[in-house]
Symmetry: C2
Subunit: 534 residues, 2 copies
């Protein structure tokens, strides 16, 4: 028997409708250098419809991909609504990838128009001739420069917007229509494309607005440090608009002191960003004691990797700020679990509460999780038996975009995360081991396997193994162990890798040893390397 | 371009999965006479699977309707999961309808099995021969009575459950599969059937769990007074299970003192019930001052009609309890708007805050609203222009079940609620009348709701209802029916109203009666007032 309920699609324009109709006077506050561009949700809707008209004028139609290479700016946020609401697909290019990877993702996604910060033009100039389907570049800030030759027209956003109509009747879309794209980095080979739908975006946003998660609320002011250029800034631009919550954006090239200035001037109550950003802000605070007022903040959601408990405790003790965390991945929109207290554990003493906060938390509504052992049997939720985490949710991918590597990531309708975890009896997840051989530095994955393969390709390197070493600033940095056939300097090896990888991938330390330790089956024994050398 | 997200259906079994896996130890506390049946969410899952096996054994298959005639008991709640999760459809029969209406709904829905409280057996005996497709009756409490002859087998729930397996592998369902049914009452003619889907049920539950609405939370304890036999107890049994929130059920035949006893013993933090129940509890409290402890409660969500502001103030002042309200209807699962403060109005003084609380609030996430005038033009959201409320949401019906009367209720994909309201600029809705309860006098509209609210604020008026009576000169004139606590003259009431309204609004006639007639769902029955008195 079928339902007799309305077939109303879950779509991003409904979020915008809500913000405009209920919270039209509420604000988005975007840092622009030393000043702020503050504008209302009414204005967000107006700018979105103008940009949709601009894009339509540039030939963008249903299903076309529009790429962005941009910071957390007002213009980037406007694109979050302008592009999907017209039925096109927002591809947020991760600007921290290497030139080759960026060229690959733009070509692979088939971007037709690029919306770029002016500081990305030199990058695009380096990629001239490799921009594939791109036929127009729009510079989001300032004039279109006369001296840049990209082989395609370069236009100024402000000029285009000035002439555009602010009327655009957004169509009703099938909720499974693609809304945005992002490329997952850090696995071997080329980045893999992930395509989010209107449905997945709306459901993920609702998940973030439910009590027991970050619980996005109209009453809070969210500083979104986590990049708009990666995994939809953890879905916060959608959840905040749904709820009419104040959005604060740190603008371009923010450094530690900029964050502190934004916090002082725009008074966010919740900061959302990478663990490394939290550490950066802490250092800036410690270097300038008493110079900045962070008292507006009550919570920081720090992600990308688990925030260390010592950091959590420092923030609580020094500033009364609660650090919360989630777990997820590009393939999952990204949030799967959220760390918080329940009625059962909220009255524990402080140390026991920090134990809870140090887990990755419980699954969000609609997220199902299971742990499987190596033999594929299901591991119990007993707080100690590890297993690979398999997940199922309406905001998890079913396959990578046009990618034959999809097959290995799924089992019987579940996505294999590659993370190893334990679950307590009440569903608190703790990641105990990362996907094999990956290093997480500053919130970004670095593949040790790829670095090793590259090093071994050097004529003077016989063997190479790369492991993660603890680092005060980046949590973890790669260290390379090499067996050489002839003398070669670390600088030469660094230069050798820099040609192939983003600079942050390049190890800071190179240790020359006579032989790499091996396991009984002849694999490089990374555990011993870590224990004995790092 | 299509999404590459998992096609994971929104289904009720996912809510149960979550409660069992994350909150297995949390409790449902059901009053059974003077005692309580307290059982865990783990046990809820176990009982649900047992009942599914029982029903399968009675021949219930995919799409079959299973009717309930029952109170807010543990067994009724178990059916909320057992029936939809196996792909069958739960028809909660509204036991407060007339015999004829009950016979009509059971036949119209095509119920094959009825799950009934033993006190409903005399009713069924009166309907012998009119039970249509019913082939088995299961008595939820106690033995199957030997002396009842219904023409179909009458079996005992406890006997059937004792023998049933607690293993049942619930199938993945298309999310548009029908999950439950309810009949809308209070309109002319036969009741109209509404069919809820798994999708609409899950989305509505998520809506109730978002911040800014009732915000169902794992940390609260919900006393569900609103009947499980009508509109899924406002969706709370689904939202509470999704969040692992403690559910407290008042059991069979509760009276005012029973509610107070349950509050004292089971310590709910939030009570959910009809406005009339709030008034019942208030009277019981006033009659037994100091006898009952209601200090566990911080909020009462009172619905069915707008709670009078004087009631809200009494609860706040006497017990520190916040009264909140929503607006909706059977056709909308039922919640469409929820009353609450935002960052913009939370710092107003107390009287101004009560003004906000006296509205029906703002639309829930995913609910779209528009107001239309009689000429179908859209009315502005200016806080004063009334219009009929049209709604669109994934949990609103697209048609009534097998009913030719559907056509008149829809316009261009929107559901016509028949309610007349104003909307403020920030989307606060105030119902000014039912379309058919508006009084048109001398060509001018008079709002019966506003007159009623004003009358109830008079210290000697307990209840008031205003209806239109034919008038030779003005076509229609308002007549007020009042229940008084003390003598008061019509002239005094007229004077009282004249201070607030245009003189033509003031009723010419005041009828003092001992009790206002109520509909099956506890609303004032204006149809009966009109028919019997006017």
């Amino acid at each position: 028997m079928q339902s007799l309920m309305m077939d109303v699609p879950l779509q991003i324009k409904t979020l915008l409708w809500r913000a405009e109709r209920l919270y039209g006077h509420k604000e988005i506050i975007a840092r622009t250098g030393d000043a702020f561009d503050a504008f209302t949700f009414t204005e967000l809707g107006r700018r979105a419809r103008k940009l949709s008209n601009v894009l339509a004028g540039l030939g963008v139609t249903f299903g076309d991909r529009v790429g962005t290479l941009a910071w957390n700016t007002a213009e980037h946020l406007v694109a979050y609504y302008a592009v999907p609401c017209m039925g096109a697909v927002l591809h947020t290019v991760n600007t921290r990838l290497s030139d080759d990877q960026i060229a690959y993702t733009i070509a692979h996604a088939g971007d037709t128009v690029l919306l770029v910060s002016s500081d990305q033009l030199p990058l695009l100039a380096r990629l001239t001739g490799r921009l594939a389907d791109v036929r127009t570049v729009v510079v989001l800030d300032g004039e279109a420069p006369a001296d840049v030759e990209l082989g395609v027209p370069v236009l100024a956003y402000t000029d285009l917007m000035a002439e555009a109509s602010d009327e655009y009747d957004y169509p009703d879309l099938d909720e499974n229509t693609a809304a945005s794209m992002c490329y997952s980095s850090g696995t071997t080979g080329d980045p893999k494309g992930v395509v989010y739908s209107h449905r997945s975006t709306v459901l993920h946003a609702l998940g973030l607005c439910t009590t027991g998660t970050i619980g996005v609320s109209e009453k809070e002011r969210y500083l979104l440090v986590t990049p708009l250029s990666h995994v939809n800034s953890w879905g916060m631009p959608f959840a905040c608009v749904l709820q009419g919550a104040t959005i604060i954006l740190p603008g371009d090239h923010p450094v530690g002191a900029d964050y502190l200035k934004v916090i002082e001037d725009a008074a966010p109550t919740v900061l959302v960003g990478a663990v490394t950003v939290g550490m950066l802000i802490r250092r800036a605070l410690e270097e300038h004691p008493g110079d900045y007022d962070v008292s507006s903040l009550h919570t920081m959601w720090l992600g990308g990797q688990a925030p260390p408990v010592v950091e959590m405790k420092w923030w609580k003790q020094a500033h009364g700020i609660h650090i919360t965390q989630a777990w997820g991945m590009t393939e999952a929109s990204p949030v799967l679990t959220f760390s918080g207290l329940t009625s059962t554990n909220q009255d524990l003493d402080e140390d026991a509460r920090f134990e809870i906060f140090s887990t990755q938390g419980q699954p969000l509504p609609l997220v199902e999780i299971k742990l499987v052992r190596e033999d594929e049997s299901e591991a119990p939720w007993d707080g100690k038996t590890p297993g690979e985490v398999l997940v199922r949710a309406p905001w998890v991918i079913s396959e990578y975009y046009n990618d034959p590597r999809s097959a290995g990531s799924f089992s019987d309708g579940w996505f294999r995360t590659g993370d190893i975890a334990t679950m307590t009896q009440d569903g608190y997840l703790t990641i105990v081991d990362r996907a094999k051989d990956l290093i997480k530095s500053g919130g970004e994955w670095i593949s040790s396997v790829e670095l090793e393969n590259a090093l071994i390709a050097h004529p003077k390197v016989i063997e190479a193994s790369v492991v993660g070493a603890p680092d005060p600033k980046w949590i973890e940095r790669p260290v390379a162990f090499v067996v050489l056939s002839d003398t070669v300097s670390p600088d030469e090896l660094k230069l050798f890798l820099k040609k192939r990888f983003p600079s942050f991938w390049v190890p800071d330390r190179f240790e020359v040893i006579t032989e790499l330790p091996k396991t009984s089956v002849g694999k490089f024994d990374k555990k011993r390397l870590r224990n004995e050398y790092v």
